[in-house]
Symmetry: C2
Subunit: 405 residues, 2 copies
C-alpha cells in the first residue's frame, strides 16, 4: 500500500519564514502605499564582490571552451577548493583538519538538514531553544523526535536546552544524555557566541558522554572578539566528537549562489567504532552530484588576498548595521543582546509582549519585518530577532521608525 512518510505529517504548521513571507505579502497587498523594510530573514543584500564576480566569469568562460570544459565534479569537491579551505580555515588557525575530511556542498542548509541521516534513527538529539528550525524539522522527518505537544511546543524525544538571558544564552548540560548535540555559534537566532572556554566544556562533555556535536559555524566570519573560537577544532579533542558545517552565504554573500562545506574528521566514530566519515562520503556519492565547478571556483576566490579583503569589507558593512540596530534599540529603551560576533540582534520584547504580537505591531505600525523569537522555540518567546543584512539606508530608516513607536 502506497503510504506517505508519516513523520512528515507530524510537522506542525509551515516553515517559519514561509509564514512570515505570507503575512508580509498580505500586509503589502492591503497597504500598497507603504514601504516595508525587512530585517527579518537572514538574507544578504549586498552584491557579490569583484574578485568573486571575476572568478565566476572566468569559470563560465572555461565551461564554454572545449579545452577547459568541466563535467561532473568530484563528489566531495575539487581539490583546489578543499586545499584552500584546509589551509585558510584550519591550518592557519592551528586546527588539524585534512583536505579529505572536507566535503564541499551546495550549502550549509542542505548539510545541516541531511547530516542527521548518517545516524541511527534511535539516536536522541539535543538542541538549543531557541534554535534554527532545520535541525529539529529534519529530525522530525527522520522519525527521531517522538510526538509533538502543541501546548508546550515540544517534541517528546527531543532534549531542549533553553538559552535565555538567565544563562547568557549558553546552554547548560542537559539532564538526559543526548547522542547528537546541535550547537550554532555565533548563534542564530540569539546573535551571541560561545567563548572558547565554554565550547571546550561542551567538547569535554561530548567526549565523556560519547555524543557528537554538530557545530554550525555559518556565522564565523562575524566574530570580532578574541576569545570566541572560529572553529570547534580549536578545542582540544574535538576531532573525535565534532562535525562542523560552514557556509559561504554570510561571509561572501552566497545565499543565492549556493556553496558550503562540512568537516567530518576521520577520528569521529560511533560507540561501536564505525567511522562516520565514510558514511557521509557515501551519502555525497549516492544522493548528491557535487557542487558546480563555477561555484567552487568562486569559493576558491574567497580565499585569495583580494577575496579576503573584500569579504572583510562586506562583513564590516553588515556589522555597521548591527551597531546601528543595537545602539538604536538601546536608545529606544530596549534590552538587546548579540550583534557583536554575529549579524543578529536579539531583543527582549517590551512589556513581555508575545513575540508574534510584537511582529504584528512592528509590521503594522513601523512597517518593519523581523522574526518572532517564539518561531525558533518556546524559550524564544518574549524575544525578537532583527538582522544586520539590510542596506545602511534601510537599517537607519527602520531604527527611526522603531524609535517613533
Amino acid at each position: 500500500m502506497l503510504k506517505a512518510n508519516q513523520n512528515y505529517l507530524k510537522l506542525p504548521g509551515s516553515y517559519l519564514f514561509s509564514t512570515i513571507a505570507k503575512k508580509v505579502a498580505s500586509y503589502k497587498e492591503a497597504n500598497p502605499d507603504r514601504t516595508v523594510i525587512s530585517l527579518g530573514i537572514g538574507d544578504v543584500t549586498q552584491p557579490l564582490s569583484p574578485a568573486i564576480i571575476k572568478s565566476l566569469h572566468d569559470a563560465v568562460d572555461e565551461m564554454g571552451a572545449k579545452e577547459t570544459f568541466k563535467g561532473y565534479a568530484p563528489d566531495l569537491g575539487y581539490d583546489f577548493l578543499r586545499k584552500a579551505i584546509a589551509e585558510n580555515d584550519y591550518k592557519k588557525r592551528g586546527c588539524d583538519i585534512a583536505e579529505d575530511e572536507i566535503f564541499v556542498s551546495d550549502g550549509a542548509k542542505s548539510d545541516s538538514g541531511n547530516i542527521q541521516e548518517i545516524f541511527d534513527e534511535n539516536c536522541k538529539i539535543a538542541v538549543c531553544d531557541p534554535v534554527y528550525p532545520v535541525y529539529v524539522d529534519s529530525n522530525v522527518m527522520a522519525g527521531r523526535t517522538g510526538t509533538y505537544d502543541a501546548d508546550s511546543e515540544r517534541w517528546s524525544d527531543v532534549i531542549y536546552m533553553p538559552c535565555t538571558a538567565e544563562n547568557n544564552f549558553v546552554p547548560d548540560f542537559p539532564e538526559k544524555t543526548p547522542d547528537i548535540i546541535y550547537i550554532c555559534s555565533p548563534n542564530n537566532p540569539t546573535g551571541t557566541a560561545m567563548s572558547k572556554a565554554d565550547l571546550q566544556k561542551w567538547v569535554d562533555y561530548a567526549r565523556e558522554h560519547g555524543s557528537v556535536i554538530i557545530y554550525d559555524a555559518a556565522y564565523e566570519a562575524y566574530i570580532s572578539e578574541d576569545d570566541v573560537p572560529h572553529s570547534i577544532y580549536e578545542c582540544s579533542g574535538a576531532r573525535t566528537c565534532a562535525i562542523e558545517i560552514h557556509s559561504f552565504s554570510k561571509n561572501a554573500g552566497f545565499t543565492g549562489t549556493r556553496l558550503g562545506y562540512t568537516v567530518v574528521p576521520k577520528d569521529l566514530k560511533d560507540a561501536e567504532g564505525t567511522a562516520l566519515h565514510g558514511l557521509w562520503a557515501r551519502r555525497h556519492g549516492t544522493k548528491f552530484n557535487g557542487a558546480p565547478y563555477i561555484q567552487q571556483k568562486a569559493g576558491a576566490a574567497v580565499y585569495t588576498p583580494e577575496g579576503q579583503a573584500e569579504i572583510k569589507a562586506l562583513v564590516s558593512y553588515y556589522m555597521e548595521n548591527a551597531k546601528t540596530i543595537k545602539d538604536g534599540l538601546k536608545d529606544a529603551g530596549y534590552t538587546v543582546y548579540g550583534g557583536v560576533n554575529a549579524p543578529y540582534i536579539w531583543l527582549a520584547t517590551p512589556d513581555n509582549m508575545k513575540s508574534w504580537d510584537f511582529f504584528d505591531r512592528l509590521l503594522q505600525d513601523a512597517n518593519v519585518v523581523g522574526t518572532p523569537g517564539s518561531g525558533f522555540g518556546p524559550s524564544g518567546e518574549g524575544y525578537f530577532r532583527l538582522t544586520a543584512f539590510g542596506t545602511h539606508e534601510n537599517t537607519i530608516e527602520a531604527m527611526r521608525r522603531i524609535k517613533e513607536l
Copy 2:
C-alpha cells in the same frame, strides 16, 4: 549511545563508478605511455553552448550589481524557469502540468536519491534489473530493502524486474505488487526506450494497484522515434500515479553545472489520500535552499530559440557517436542494443564473457573504458555499456581499437 545509520553499513562495496575510476587510475599509473579512452561514465565532453554561456555571464553580472543582486532563491525555483519548463516540456506536448507542480533542483541525481524519503519506510520498491544504482542504494540507506544476499546480488525486500534481450528490455509486471516503481526511459544503462503503448500499460498497472511510478526522464532529449513518449504525462491517468524527474545534464551538458527538476502532480495521493506534492515541497523547504540563480537563468536559456537549436546540435553530435559505436560494434560481430533513442549502447559480451572480465580485457587490450553490465544488477551480467558522450575523434579511435581486439 551514538550509533551510525546501520542501513549504510549494509551497502556492499563502493559506488560502481568509484570502482571503475580506481581500476582506471591504477592501470594508467602502471601504463603511463598508454592513452586511455573513456566511454564509461555518462559524463558529457562538449562545452556549454553560446546561448547558455551568454546567459551565465549575464546572470553573473546581475549578481555583481546592487540593483540586480539575488539572494535566496524561491525554494521551489524561480517562476521564470518553472514557466519555461511548463510551457515547453509539458504544454507543447499536450501534458497538463502546472508551474507549481515543478520543483527545480540541483540535479536529477539528487532528486532521484532523495525522492524515496517522502514515502513510508515499509513501502516496497520495484526496480528494473539492470538499473541505475542510485534508486536501490538510496532505498538501502533508508532501510527499505531488507537484507543483501551476496550470491544472488539481490536485496530481500526489493522487487526486481529483469530487462534483457528476451523481453526487449521492457519489464514484465512483477509477481509481488510494488508500492514504488522506478522506470527510466530512455533507459540507463540499456539504451532502449519504452513505446507510449508500453508505458501506458505501466501507468494503467500503477493506477490499478495503487502504486507510484518514479519516472526518470533524464535522457528524453535523445528520443528520435515518434512512438516513444517524452514525458510519462503523455499517458492517460499519469497525473494520479507518477512523479517525473528531469535533468539538464544530458541535453544541455550541465553535468558540472548542476540543474534539474522534478514534477509531483497535485493529483498524486497515497492510499490514505495524502497528497505527496506537499511533502516534497516540505523537503525542499527544509533540506534544500533552492538552485542557484545563475544556473536557473542558464536553464531558462535552454528554452529560448537559440538554446533549443544549440542543444539539438549537441544531441546530434553525441548521437553521431552512438551511430559510430553501434555500426562499429555490429561490423566487429557484436550483438548491440540501444543507441537510437538514448546515448547508451548496450552490447552482449562475446562468448558469454563475464562483464567485469570484458571490462578488464577492453581496458588492457584496447585501452577503452566502458561499464560492466553486472555493475547495474545481476541481469546485466553478460552485457556491457558504452556511452556516446565522448568526442568524435575518441569514439572513432575507440571503435578502431575494439575492432582490432
